[in-house]
Amino acid sequence: MDTSEIQAKVVEIIGRYAKNKEAAATATETTNILEDLKVNSARLVDVILDFEDEFDIEVEDDDADAVNTVGDAVALIQSKVA
């Protein structure tokens, strides 16, 4: 899976939980998941678990905590699926 495919899937997953749907529709790699997309912290847990299922990876708590932006999520997933 290439970077743009991962990013599209990441944005789709986060979009399910984003309160700010408009910002989710135009999200880029610098978009902040909590601040810009207004995903709340409980839903961020669901986002991480959906990443695990979708990409068949395991995300440790420490890795999950370092995910602030869409780009962080894409980089993390890329490092796990490689």
Binding site: A42, V45, L49, D50, D61
Partner: protein, 205 residues
């Protein structure tokens, strides 16, 4: 006193047992906490009480140490009846009080040092008229509540108070000077909540 809070709308569709991820509990709760989720009738409320306890304690921990991260399983919760919980994180302990109704819970946390256990922070929960609000409304309205609360503690007109953020933590300013009231904001679904307390003044003696 440093305070943290968290409000949860128990009827929000996204919080329902069938809506959360099947591994949610495993991801955020310790085995001991999960043992409290085995009764179907009480599991939903207990889940969100424990979550709110963790998040409110995190907000206090983060003010005490900006390096603290929200890794939910590391904030271990011991419920003490329906109104209280003790939370541990590393060497810190927090005392959490709960209030709530049929469809919401609000947790307020303070650091527990054994000495001021009888002092409680103040809190206020407001139901959004007409159902769930936009993120913008929630943020603006909860700040208006915080300005009123801080203003009433210090006898200052709310319009003179500005709510700013320092490293993501909300603070109250008047003419750019930090006011001596610590507070915490939370909003979820149909509810907005503020908790506050006068910050301890250092004794000059």
């Amino acid at each position: 006193m440093i305070v943290g809070n968290d409000v949860v709308d128990l009827r929000h569709p996204e919080n329902q047992p069938r809506a959360i991820h099947p591994r949610f509990d495993e991801r955020v709760f310790t085995p001991a906490e999960r043992a409290g989720l085995t009764h179907e009738v009480t599991a939903h409320r207990t889940r969100w009480l424990m979550w709110a306890a963790k998040e409110s304690a995190f907000k206090v921990a983060r003010k005490l140490d900006p390096g603290v991260r929200f890794l939910p399983r590391r904030f271990s919760v011991q419920l003490e009846g329906k109104k209280w919980a003790a939370v541990r994180h590393a060497a810190e302990r927090f005392r959490v009080s709960f209030c709530g109704g049929d469809d919401w819970v609000h947790a307020t946390a303070t650091r527990f040092d054994g000495s001021d256990a009888t002092r409680e922070p103040s809190g206020m929960v407001e139901r959004v008229p007409g159902g769930e609000s936009s993120a913008e409304y929630a943020s603006a309205r909860v700040r208006a509540l915080a300005r009123s609360a801080v203003g009433s503690v210090l006898s200052i007109a709310p319009r003179e108070i500005e709510i700013a953020k320092v490293a993501n933590v909300p603070v109250a300013l008047r003419r750019k000077l930090l006011l001596p009231v610590d507070f915490s904001l939370s909003h979820h679904g149909r509810f907005l909540a503020v908790a506050w307390s006068l910050r301890e003044q250092r004794s000059s003696q």
